[in-house]
């Protein structure tokens, strides 16, 4: 597997892609067949026959999530409908030392739900009941397979909505959002999933059911909920989530602003945020990304724009009115040549449609592409964008930029044609170099898509061995058997009993008597 970096969403090569070699991240088919058999037996006793998939034809459809570059056929797929069924399967995995991977809708972009060839894929798509909408408490209690947008749909009638809105919100699941600490366009003002999950019922890697957090904010003791949110399925599987509902704003204004260059659009963004105005979202798309979105959804963005900003203001009407005047001024002062205000819900939807479909839409202008995800301090935006443009020019690899400008979360889309000799490698090189740019500018290798299998190899660029070992200690505390999504997040997956190889002396925490080495 050549692509160890860059979130590659590749359309091809369709025919002739060879099976990935078995690695510590993917496991080897046929390993622990007896264990798999035993888990299958348990699964068949606790859930209907249709919930257990072992037919090779059917298994194959589960070989990847939204990152189709990595493909591994799982040994067994289970589709539990209840917490008890799910816990029983996990318990069986623990009893037989079988690795398991959780999957929601399979839309993740870092291969976090890439199956194990020697393991069980636990799919939550049949656990999709919204258990409760507690309007007065501003809470909803939902099962992990519930679709993000369905929470909003269920709460809208009550005057509320669920704020985190990844581009895939129409299909991504709350369980997956919780695992990845998903973001979205409106995270600028409202925060990530971690700011909106107040409690979860978790099946631990041993198969125990525990409740972390709850309806009330801030449970005493260690913030285990905070540890679990964003742990990418390595600490167990959430079977319910208690999420915050946010009051629908009195007024929403969505603007589409055309600029001649990304520099101008970036400067406008900095001016807006620097003034203290906090829009619900500021999204930027450059000319290539606009071209793709136009081809896909005919969103009718301004002609000839080198960049557009999608700016959304929400809140009390008077506040929005005031902020709108400021935003309009900052845009004009920074070279905006067209400013369009959506006059109704249909126009607003069309503006957002262009932005939200941009990733997949790039398929219209390029046979293959890599969706990169990096984050930088917002002020570094113009510099990093210029550096990306230079990279693109010197390598001849086209890069389209779509990103959450307000919080510096970049999503460069690296375009290539996998059929052309050397194109894939060149694209991967550019994609990797973009991550390096993020790190050197004080940013990080992922803003919201997660590390998964895709960026595990990049973790040592951001963290020292000691940092990574400390993270391992947390992981081992939850999952001493190393069966919960093993091979993800960390570059050199160690069993909890293994002594890390590179370290010359005892871990400082162990030495200080603060921690045990497992």
């Amino acid at each position: 597997m050549s692509g160890t970096h860059g979130t590659q969403t590749t359309a091809g090569p369709v025919l002739g892609d060879t099976p990935p070699e078995a690695t510590s991240a993917t496991g080897e088919a046929g390993d622990n067949a007896a264990g798999i058999e035993a888990v299958g037996r348990v699964a068949r006793t606790v859930m209907p026959e249709t919930g257990v998939i072992a037919d090779p034809t059917q298994l194959r459809t589960y070989e990847c999530d939204g990152l189709a570059h990595y493909r591994v056929t799982p040994a067994l797929v289970v589709l539990p409908e209840t917490t008890e069924q799910l816990a029983a399967v996990v318990k069986a995995c623990a009893d037989h030392g079988v690795p398991f991977v959780a999957r929601g809708s399979g839309t993740g972009l870092s291969g976090g739900a890439l199956p194990r060839a020697d393991g069980v894929l636990v799919v939550t798509s049949r656990m999709r009941t919204i258990r409760e909408i507690r309007r007065a408490d501003q809470r909803a209690v939902v099962e992990p397979g519930v679709i993000n947008l369905d929470v909003t749909r269920a709460a809208t009638g009550e005057g509320y909505y669920y704020a985190p809105d990844p581009s895939s919100q129409q299909i991504c699941s709350i369980g997956g959002n919780l695992a990845e600490n998903s973001g979205g366009a409106h995270c600028l003002k409202y925060g990530f999933t971690s700011n909106h999950v107040l409690g979860t019922e978790l099946v631990t890697p041993q198969g125990d059911l525990v409740q972390l957090g709850g309806l009330a904010p801030d449970s005493p003791g260690y913030d285990l909920l905070g540890t679990v949110v964003g742990s990418e399925g390595t600490l167990g599987i959430a079977t319910t989530a208690t999420v915050r509902l946010v009051r629908l704003p009195e007024e929403v204004r969505t603007l589409l602003v055309g600029f001649h260059s990304t520099d101008d659009a970036g400067a406008a963004t900095s001016a807006i945020i620097g003034s203290g105005v906090l829009p619900a979202a500021i999204e930027m798309m450059d000319a290539l990304a606009i071209e793709a979105a136009e081809a896909a959804v005919h969103c009718n963005y301004p002609d000839g724009a080198g960049a557009v900003l999608v700016i959304e203001l929400d809140g009390a009407a008077a506040e929005v009115e005031h902020e709108y005047a400021l935003v309009e001024r900052f845009c004009q002062e920074n070279g905006a040549f067209e400013l369009r205000l959506a006059i109704d819900a249909t126009e607003r939807a069309l503006i957002w449609r262009g932005r939200k479909s941009a990733f997949a839409a790039v398929g219209r202008i390029s046979p293959d592409y890599i969706v990169q995800d990096g984050v930088i301090p917002r002020t570094a935006l113009p510099e990093v964008l210029r550096a990306i443009a230079e990279l693109s020019e010197s390598s001849g690899v086209r890069v389209a930029n779509v990103f959450h400008a307000g919080d510096g979360n970049l999503h460069p889309l690296v375009l290539f044609d996998g059929e052309k000799e050397g194109a894939t490698e060149a694209a991967e090189q550019v994609s990797g170099a973009i991550l390096d740019l993020c790190i050197t500018h004080g940013g990080a290798i992922t803003g919201e898509h997660g590390v998964g299998v895709d960026k595990a190899a990049y973790m040592p660029k951001m963290f020292t061995d000691d940092d990574l070992d400390t993270m391992q200690l947390v992981r081992c505390a939850f999952d001493p058997g190393n069966i919960s999504n093993p091979g993800k997040v960390f570059p050199t997956p160690r069993l909890c009993g293994e002594v890390p190889g590179k370290r010359k002396k005892a871990h400082p925490l162990v030495e200080a008597g603060l921690a045990d080495a497992f």
Partner: protein
């Protein structure tokens, strides 16, 4: 476990990945015992398959994914299965089961940001399934019966008498209440439940002259199910077209357009229906062929693909497809001249999948309806999701079709509309049986019947049977 199953099946080609790895390496000795799923004659296109980036945006609009929540019954899962087939995997019963389960509603085509042409993929796959898969005797018999009946007007007409007598006898209530038929033959029960209450047939002349100044000369497809089960729709179509200044030519020779055959992979049958339809309308010498059934219009616009390999017809089919218009599409383009009289009624408009998803016709019927003074238009929640009719799918898959129908009926009821309007006979039959089961009292009508009533100044009460 799966691995051990696979190991036991011992043919190298049973695993698509291995098959591929092998093709690049040493040539295996001996002939493979497993035949790949597809032959070389128009298998699903690898190029079209490669457009899918596996983003999953198709999942929430796929009726079977919403029902079962499993990947292999989703568009991207089915595309994975096609890919497996292309790579040499055999056409197993399991694989066919997932292709068969697809309703062909094309909601995924609308939802796909990458422009995957799933419609072409599934149709090519279905032709291969029909060619290479042996169905169970029961399934074969059922399909044979359906395809021996529905596409033939005369046979449908022969059924009208007994059906009307049955409906008049009060037996339907007894049969449905007893649940006996459902237990004995669920697919027959599905057909029984779907049959609409029959109206009197109105005989149409071969030519209906334009009222006032002639603005166009159009041909009208009368269809099979539409013509026999909903004859009022054809009569209304002819009247509205004439009122809008069209000479309407209704060729006697026309038969079934072949939509059901096209959508079910029955290639030869589809080709012969397509050729006959082209012949009939070419002889009539019309510039435009107007269709009032969404499924028919959609497949007639595909004739160019259906007959692409026929040297005598390929060009003619292309020209013909270019002339086909849905009636709402045609009327919206033409612009109205006939005076609309008020109809004080709230209408829920249901997008037939083969009109909205397959032909992209959504705004035209709505704008035509909005031209009627007094008419209030309501949108149905989850409008993208199929009602479960899908040609003959509801007959072959009665249980899931009923779930989908009930879901649609609940959504329709939630609008509080007095009249449900749609443009496909299949949807009307499916939705009306679900609404009836649910006890929702709402009138049903085709878009064109509403326009007809408005132009003729008829009262709302004439629209559709009230439940």
């Amino acid at each position: 476990m799966a691995e051990s199953t696979r190991a036991r099946s011992d043919e190298p080609q049973s695993d698509p990945r291995k098959a591929d790895a092998l093709s690049a390496g040493p040539v295996p000795v001996g002939t493979p015992t497993v035949r790949p799923a597809f032959d070389d004659e128009h298998p699903p296109s690898a190029e079209l398959i490669s457009d899918c980036v596996h983003c999953g945006f198709c999942l929430p609009t796929c009726p079977t994914y919403t029902l079962w929540g499993e990947e292999m019954d989703s568009p991207r899962g089915r595309i994975d299965l096609m890919k497996a087939g292309l790579q040499g995997a055999p056409m197993t019963d399991t694989m066919v089961q997932h292709f068969d389960a697809c309703l062909g509603c094309m909601a995924c085509v609308t939802a796909c940001p990458s422009g995957v042409q799933y419609d072409k993929l599934i149709e090519a796959t279905r032709v291969q399934v029909e060619r290479h898969h042996t169905r169970s005797p029961g399934d074969r018999a059922m399909r044979a019966a359906i395809f021996a009946l529905f596409p033939y007007k005369k046979r449908l007409r022969a059924l009208r008498g007994p059906l009307r007598a049955y409906q008049a006898s009060g037996l339907p209530g007894v049969v449905r209440k007893s649940g006996l038929l459902e237990r004995l033959a669920p697919k027959l029960a599905a057909m029984e439940g779907l049959a609409p209450v029959l109206e009197k047939r109105e005989k149409l002349p071969e030519r209906v002259p334009a009222t006032g100044t002639r603005r166009a000369v159009v041909g009208l497809l009368t269809g099979c199910v539409q013509g026999e089960f909903f004859p009022g729709v054809n009569a209304a179509t002819a009247r509205v077209l004439a009122a809008e200044g069209c000479d309407v030519i209704i060729p006697r020779r026309q038969g079934c357009c072949g939509a059901l055959s096209v959508h079910n992979g029955r290639q030869e049958e589809a080709e012969s229906f397509a050729r006959a339809t082209i012949d009939a309308f070419e002889a009539a010498g019309v510039d435009t062929v107007v269709v009032n059934a969404a499924g028919c219009g959609s497949s007639m616009k595909e004739y160019a693909d259906v007959l692409a390999d026929d040297p005598d017809y390929a060009e003619r089919a292309k020209a013909f497809s270019g002339k086909v218009r849905d009636v709402s599409e045609f009327l919206a383009d033409l612009g109205s001249v006939a005076v609309r009289h008020p109809l004080e009624v709230t209408v829920a408009y249901h997008d037939a999948c083969h009109l909205g998803h397959a032909q992209g016709i959504r705004s035209q019927p709505r704008s035509l309806l909005k031209e009627v003074p007094g008419l209030q238009l309501k949108e149905i929640p989850e409008a993208d999701i199929c009602c479960g009719s899908a040609g003959i799918w509801n007959v072959l898959n009665p249980e899931p079709a009923r779930e989908l129908g009930d879901r649609k009926a609940r959504n329709i009821a939630s609008t509080g509309a007095q009249l449900l309007v749609t443009a496909n006979p299949g949807c009307l039959m499916q939705v009306s049986s679900s609404l009836e089961r649910q006890g929702t009292r709402i009138g049903l009508a085709h878009t064109i019947e509403v326009l007809d009533a408005s132009i003729r100044g008829l009262p709302v009460s004439t629209l559709g049977p009230q439940h």
